[in-house]
């Protein structure tokens, strides 16, 4: 197969691409993976143990009080939902804009979206206090009289937005995997293990990929529909990703709490979500390309592009911060003005300044080519950005709530051990799934990459 020159191409024949990308899937995990997976599993156990304990003891385990009724749970929820947004941006929006560099990071980013949404989803449910009543959210004909959820509440919009987001992302991701699963299936055909136990495992693997590849044989009469489906899913995911974080922001913006009640919230939250999501993709891809020897697939150029997206969205977020302050100053509402002065100088000023340093200052290192092509710098900044974005949600939620209209009801919010443990545990839960993913499924969309490698004459995927 001839290979046409391509900036992001690897210039390898298809067979070698298969070998490179499927190697982690077809070989035994390394010690490093077991250590990472062990740590993540400890996190998962801790997470669900505390969650279970809180079912018995109630939400009093955590630091939430009156007036700070939304604490770490909602902060973590917004944080993880935000992380997810980069995956859809890469897989859908960059696809529609024909950004070729997305090909090699798309699968991993999409997987990250799904696991981040799975992590995020747990928080509001646990925050209910009585999570077993979660079905009350869903409008279905019931025998409780006619009792329906209120369609005028942004919290209910959230239920719809996030469950739709999760479902559509899952469909998009899984259907993208189908041709690659077929590749895995056909590579396994002649494999035989040496031991009886090995053969049993192999049979299990074969059955799994057989079922999951749903009879894909690469027929042109299937590809033609498949490509159209990918295009349409990308087209509907694009407004979806904007709507999800807009609706999350409306949980705040439709309340009358000073510091929340702002029309800038939807675009501000969407920009922040993409900002933190790209930082997370960067963190993960820097590790993956090193560990799984994917450096020729995820090149410095890819990392640089992501760094530029971080720079852009970082400036959008900074602009939103400034706008918030200007609006407060110019709007003339004393309560609003107080909240913002309180952010700068109040008891949570340390959180505000952490956020400010991480989110406003750190992306500007990306202006320099030398820095944004240095993976050590990129790695540190990607983590710093996510620390900043977590603090952004902390600042929005805690500083706005802890001092509202009535000084008599003011209080401080001091997180307990359980709050911190749930935050750490949520990372365990996320990486637990991600680590399973990297061993079970190809991290790079192999079929898409081959189409790119074959060059302009095939121009696949929706052209």
């Amino acid at each position: 197969m001839s290979v046409i020159e391509n900036v992001y191409g690897v210039g390898k024949p298809s067979r070698e691409i298969d070998n490179d990308i499927l190697r982690p899937v077809e070989s035994f995990p390394t010690k490093l993976w077991y250590i990472a997976f062990g740590m993540a599993s400890v996190g998962v156990v801790m997470y669900w143990a505390i969650a279970g304990y809180s079912f018995k003891k109630g939400l009093g385990l955590f630091a939430i009080n009156s007036p700070v009724g939304w604490g770490f749970y909602i902060i973590n929820f917004v944080f993880w939902i935000g992380i997810g947004h980069a995956g859809t941006l890469i897989s859908a929006i960059l696809y529609l804009f024909r950004q070729r560099w997305r090909t090699t990071i798309n699968r991993a980013a999409e997987a990250m979206t799904i696991f981040a949404v799975m992590t995020a989803l747990t928080f509001p449910v646990l925050h209910l206090g009585r999570p077993w009543m979660v079905f009350f959210f869903f409008p279905y004909p019931n025998e409780r009289g006619p009792v329906w959820p209120s369609f005028r509440s942004p919290l209910l919009w959230d239920v719809f937005a996030i469950s739709t987001y999760f479902t559509v992302s899952l469909i998009f991701w899984y259907m993208g995997l189908v041709p690659d699963l077929a590749t895995m299936r056909d590579r396994l055909v002649n494999n035989e293990a040496k031991t009886k136990f090995g053969n049993m495992l192999l049979k299990l693997r074969k059955n799994a990929v057989n079922i999951l590849s749903i009879g894909w044989v690469g027929s042109a009469k299937t590809w033609i529909h498949y490509e159209k489906m990918v295009l349409i899913l990308a087209a509907i995911s694009t407004p979806l990703v904007f709507s999800v974080h807009s609706i999350v922001s409306m949980d705040f913006a439709t309340a009358i709490i000073p510091g929340w009640h702002a029309t800038i919230f939807p675009p501000y939250f969407v920009a922040g979500a993409i900002y933190s999501g790209f930082a997370m993709v960067l963190t993960i891809m820097i590790i993956s390309r090193e560990v799984f020897q994917l450096k020729q697939y995820v090149t410095l150029k890819h990392l640089e592009n992501m760094a530029l997206v971080i720079l852009l969205t970082g400036m959008m977020v900074s602009f939103a911060y400034i706008t918030e302050f200007v609006m407060a100053a110019y709007g003339g509402n004393e309560m609003e003005q107080y909240v913002f002065i309180n952010r700068l100088k109040g008891p949570y000023a340390w959180a505000f300044w952490t956020m400010f340093t991480c989110n406003v200052v750190s992306p500007h290192f990306m202006w320099f080519k030398k820095l944004r092509t240095n993976i050590y710098v990129l790695f540190v900044i990607s983590i710093v950005v996510n620390i900043g974005m977590w603090f952004e949600r902390f600042v929005i939620i805690v500083t706005s709530l802890h001092r509202d209209y009535l000084p008599s009801s003011w209080d401080l919010y001091t997180p307990t051990f359980y709050d911190y443990a749930m935050l750490v545990g949520s990372f365990g839960w996320f990486f637990f799934w991600y680590l399973l993913f990297v061993r079970a499924l190809p991290q790079i969309a192999v079929a898409e990459l081959k189409a790119d490698e074959a060059g302009d004459k095939v121009k696949g995927y929706g052209h």
């Binding site: 329906w148 005028r152 590579r187 044989v217 009469k221 074959a454 696949g460």
Partner: protein
């Protein structure tokens, strides 16, 4: 665009190769050329297999555009109508409540959920259509040539033809021709 008659005849439908010949093709260009030749020879039952989508193949094989957008549009309309009308029915007739002095029928507030369900139904319709039209979902199916999901290309000719005829039709484009075995 496929005419409705064609759809009824199943002309563009995927079919599992059960009769005829499979030719292993060496590269993308040859596959496109082979598809054109087979189409021009008036072969009715044939299909091409490749590890990735090849845009030019659609024309070469004489395939028409996919029907999926229409089915997606039906999904979108269904989802949007269902969401909007059920919220209206609940708020206006089944359980009317005054909230914040707003009218029972406050349509702007229905926009977010209407949008989300439109997207959800579109996704399901698109997924269902792709699986149905592409004839996916049969896990026991295996490719005609094992390499077509990796780096190989193949063309299947299902019409009644002798091996000599297939060979002369695909002169210089194939590396191997074998009969289809079930």
């Amino acid at each position: 665009m496929t005419s409705f008659e064609d759809v009824k005849k199943g002309l563009y439908r995927y079919e599992d190769p059960e009769t005829g010949w499979v030719a292993v093709i060496k590269d993308v260009d040859s596959l496109i050329a082979a598809a054109e030749k087979v189409r021009d020879a008036g072969v009715k039952k044939f299909d091409c297999f490749s590890p990735f989508p090849i845009h030019k193949l659609e024309k070469a094989m004489g395939l028409s555009r996919s029907w999926i957008p229409f089915i997606s549009a039906i999904g979108a309309l269904t989802g949007g109508t269902f969401a909007f009308s059920s919220m209206t029915w609940i708020d206006v007739s089944n359980w009317p409540r005054v909230m914040g002095g707003k009218p029972y029928f406050s349509w702007p507030i229905y926009v977010p959920i209407t949008f989300e369900l439109t997207v959800l139904f579109t996704a399901f319709a698109t997924l269902g259509a792709a699986i149905y039209l592409g004839r996916l979902g049969k896990s026991s199916r295996r490719p005609v040539v094992n390499t077509v999901t990796s780096d190989g290309f193949a063309i299947w000719i299902g019409d009644d033809m002798s091996k000599q005829n297939v060979e002369s039709l695909l002169q210089g484009l194939y590396t191997d021709i074998r009969p289809v075995t079930k």
